[in-house]
Amino acid sequence: MNDDNPAIRAVVSKIGLDGHDRGAKVIARGLRDAGMEVIYTGLRRTPQELAEIVLQEDADVIGLSILSGAVVPLASAMQEALAARGLDDVLIVVGGIVPAATRADLAALGIDGAFGPGTAISDVVGFIQGRLGRRVDAGV
């Protein structure tokens, strides 16, 4: 990272009660290897806690791993929590089980970064860098 291309700061977290964190940890490492600074916050974080973390860490993006069926309610709750802290400009990315109907619901909320099983790390990285207007080549 250098001053012309500062590192993207990303919070990666599980939200809700589900405790399977394989995907979240893989994405955390993947974003790290793409040059991002990743704040990994573990299991069972509430939307309020995550909003507070995003604020303190001045994160550009928050990645939520949601493997239960409650993708839309949780993503929506996250959005509200961020808005309540004045953090509407933070990018929300969701990973989990996202069939077409869920994607549509998320898009209606303004969340179009939704990644299901079989997603390659580069897909997520490309999406985030694209949205945040950063160069794809994130060399040191």
Partner: protein
Amino acid sequence: MTSTDHHALEGHYDRWLDEHAAELAGAGELSTSSGIPIKPLYTPLDLEQIGWSYERELGLPGEAPYTRGFSAAGYRSKLWKMEMYAGFGSAEDANRRYRYLIEQGSTGGVSMALDLPTQIGMDSDDPMARIEVGQMGVALSSFADVERVFDGIPLDRVGHIFTTANCIGPIAAAWFLVLAEKQGVDTSTFDVQIQNDPIKEYIARGTQFLPIEASVRLATDMLQHMNQVAPNWLPISVSGSHMKQAGSTCVQEAAFTICNGIAYVETCLAKGMRIDDFGENIELHFCTEMDFFEEVAKYRAVRAVWTQLVRERFGGTTEAAQHFRLHAATSGRPLTAQQPLNNISRITLQILAQILGGCEQTRTASFDEALGIPTEEAARTSIRANQIIAYESGVPATVDPLAGSYYVETLTHEFRRLIWEEIARVDEMGGAVEATRQGYFQQKLADGAYRDQVAVDSGEKVIVGVNRFQLDDETPVPVFTLNEDGINRQLDRLGRLRKERDNEAAEASLRRLAEVCATDENVMPAVLDCVRNYATTGEISQVWRSVFGEYRSEMSKL
């Protein structure tokens, strides 16, 4: 092999390597999914090199080291058990299914999935639980919910009940004991199996809510109590499958599971139990993925290592003590949503590996697993796969048919060696509990998962239909609907229970539980009392949290 023969073979082999050097090199270097290098060819020379001896490595089935299996006639006399996992949402669904099975005359048994709040020691009305009540399983906030599930169902006709209660193991055990009490049914007339393996929760599954030592104390208290009052029940299933699905290699799956098993057993021994009394009630549970010969080697090696531990480390003196339950479930992880019929082939290979590994208890996934709750047709197809192997293939006709294969024996031996190495390493860290606290296992899992992802993304690891041999059509993905009605009904019932039960009795029993927890006494009698008095899952768990403390991550590795 005589030394003349050996010398001759060595010469031939060297000559052969030279002659075919280009062809052999062309395929590149290959290794198992655990990273063990795979040679193009295995011969008696490989067995010689590891000092392999039939007596030491294999022996005879039903005798130490048990590599070839626990019974002399193997599947000839008794086929492997074929369980099918069927989870339920609401208590009503579960009740209906049990009644149906009893009507059909079945005693095959069913599994009862619990919702996440229940597994994490939360009641349905806990603020953190709201949208997840009753979603991935039944919400059991109190004994009243349990009674509802089994309403009108005689327990002695139900066969085998399995539930993945882990950190709430003692509570789940209490439910079934009290249910049997109330129905006046003897515990020997049906089977209850509770997963009761909290250590792996901290490592791979995430339902922990207490400090790890407290969880181990509770789990082993339950084990000890069950051994006395319901010795035919299965109070623990030390699980590797979740760890492998979270990213461990096959070797690590075997080794870490065994290390966790050592922690539980040694805690029990410290309480004065003897392995001769409970060794055969221990289940070690694994999943079978796609590296065929690795899985075969793994099951053979696990038998050899664990039985050796029973004899040499735990003080076991009987055959029964060594005859643990080796349970293998085909893993749903390799099953794809793309071209789901391909999964039938995958499942068949997985089942075959389990059988050639000599597993006595198995579970089989369904080909549409990645799409949601399996259809009846898919479930039936999986049962048929088992039956085709059992009745049409001839495979079960002889015990451990792959024995003697130069490759399989080399691999089995290597698995044993690597497992013992890992046991020593974890021992040096202070045991599985300490290793878990430091995050050692977790980091291995995360590293493995990352390696795997990079390999799939780059195409180095092929998944047919996903990154090679794809079709253009849209991949069907499961749909999930939130059951708002169910949640509200449950909240209603819980609210009423809190008012209508004898609150003084409930509170008194919770206070008593708190007292017992602060001592070394077995907590089960106190837990039973709480359950009888309709203290809730959350209330009992809260007593634990206040006496033992809340779970806090101490990992120094990520």
